[in-house]
């Protein structure tokens, strides 16, 4: 249900993509995500790309998390 990992699309042939993560390449179906393009990061679950990773939101999440950490650190000083 949940095991999904972000991987980068490096090649597309019709409905099948080759994705890459950590130096490993792997085939994934784009049947559920036909709008994906080479260069996109997508979540792969059981051999299917289920959604794209939104780079802006990813950065925003990281920014918030860093902010929380900074506040925590300052409060404990």
């Amino acid at each position: 249900m949940c095991l999904g990992i972000p991987a980068k699309i490096i090649f597309i042939d019709d409905e099948m993509a080759t994705v890459s993560v950590g130096g490993v390449e792997y085939p994934a179906s784009l049947q559920l995500l036909p709008g994906a393009s080479v260069g996109d990061f997508v979540i792969i679950h059981a051999g299917f790309a289920i959604e794209k990773v939104d780079l802006k939101e990813a950065e925003e999440t990281i920014r918030i998390i860093h902010e929380i950490e900074k506040v925590s650190r300052n409060n404990s000083l």
Binding site: M1, C2, P6, Q31, L32, F48, I50, I68
Partner: protein, 365 residues
């Protein structure tokens, strides 16, 4: 690895844990309903980072655990038939039915093969036209679209030797049923990848009816902790709502193409959840148009009887009403090497995860 490593940094994890500690003043019960979350909490060792006020319980998020002995018995029955090949996700292989498991059947000659993708089972079907390939469809809304895609392909190709035995289930009905049954839950950590497919609209009625918070969480340690922080904040502020923590993947509208494919192939049906019983509209059944790919119809499988092994309290554990150490069989008779109930055999089952935390410092709950 990008979008993974940066969400695992220990300073960030410890920072969020600290801020949760400061924010949480009242006792709160949070339930996660996703096997992936259960595993992540274990893998990253997050429980010990939570304050005493937070009780984190694992709900019925493990599709294998909730499938029940009847489903396993049917898969075992199909495995025993000569001429069948069972092509299955690894999760199912060691789960005990009432008398056997796929692993045991494999050991006595049944043709059972692991696949990572359901598309591999289509390949097996193409390469073995004189055999019948049965794919047990387990999983929730993240995995059901993949099964739907496979049936769609099989239909297009006329691949008649491919059959699916569906045990797919959907989340919202069980999330409601648990609270209706009296399980005390102050907030749900909602499954990130399920929601990436379904969108968040389905959670709104739950928040409105029951007044608890729902945060859609990712699977990295900072994701889970941030989600807990958000739920704690909602609880402390008496402001229950649906929020998305996993915004880099989950959109409020979800993946409409995946949902459309699911709707094309499947329709809702009442389904049995281990330890909870029948929940209306909580399962997915293959529609009549595609019934030639439905293993239930093809093999005329009977309605299944559910039998809990004597002493096993998986049902109550799944509901979060009891903890594994309450079970008379836990760690004595029922261990990961010798599991009695599904909560122990599945790696992310509550009992299996608990077995690994036992005698841990911190809260081990």
């Amino acid at each position: 690895m990008r979008f993974i490593d940066e969400y695992r940094e220990s300073e960030l994890v410890l920072g969020i844990a600290e801020s949760i500690r400061k924010r949480s003043t009242r006792n709160i019960v949070l339930m996660e309903v996703c096997g992936g979350h259960t595993m992540a909490v274990h893998k990253f060792g997050l429980r010990e980072l939570l304050p005493e006020t937070i009780r984190l319980i694992s709900g019925p998020g493990c599709p294998v655990c909730v499938s029940g002995t009847g489903f396993i018995d049917n898969v075992v029955k199909l495995a025993k038939m000569p001429g069948n090949i069972i092509a299955t996700y690894g999760d199912l292989v060691r789960v005990p039915g009432s008398s056997s498991s796929l692993e045991q059947e494999k050991g006595t000659g049944a043709d059972v093969r692991f696949v990572y993708s359901v598309l591999d089972s289509l390949d097996i079907a193409r390469r073995n036209p004189d055999r019948t390939i049965v794919f047990p469809g387990i999983g929730f809304e993240t995995t059901a679209p993949a099964t739907a895609a496979a049936i769609f392909h099989a239909h297009k190709e006329g691949l008649q030797n491919f059959k699916v035995l569906s045990s797919h289930k959907v989340m919202p009905p069980v999330m409601r049923a648990l609270i209706d049954e009296g399980v005390k839950i102050d907030g749900y950590i909602a499954p990130g990848h399920v929601t990436a497919i379904t969108g968040t609209e389905m959670y709104r009625p739950i928040v409105e009816k029951y007044g608890l918070g729902i945060v859609v969480a990712g699977f990295e340690p900072t994701d889970i902790l941030q989600s807990i922080k958000m739920l704690v904040a909602q609880f402390e502020d008496h402001d229950p709502k649906v929020e998305i923590q996993y915004s880099r993947v989950v959109k409020p509208e979800g993946n409409s193409i995946a949902r459309k494919l699911m709707d094309e192939i499947f329709e809702p049906r009442d389904d049995r959840w281990r330890g909870i019983g029948m929940i209306p509209d909580s399962g997915l059944k293959i529609r009549r148009k595609y019934q030639s790919f439905d293993a239930e119809k093809h093999f005329e499988l009977p309605e299944t009887e559910e039998t809990e092994p004597a002493g096993c309290i998986c049902g109550e554990v799944l509901k979060g009403l009891k903890i594994p150490t309450d079970c008379p069989l836990f760690a004595e008779v029922c261990t990961p090497v010798n599991p009695v109930g599904a909560c122990m055999v599945s790696n992310e089952g509550t009992c299996a995860a608990y077995y690994r935390y036992r005698k841990s410092e911190g809260h081990g709950r």
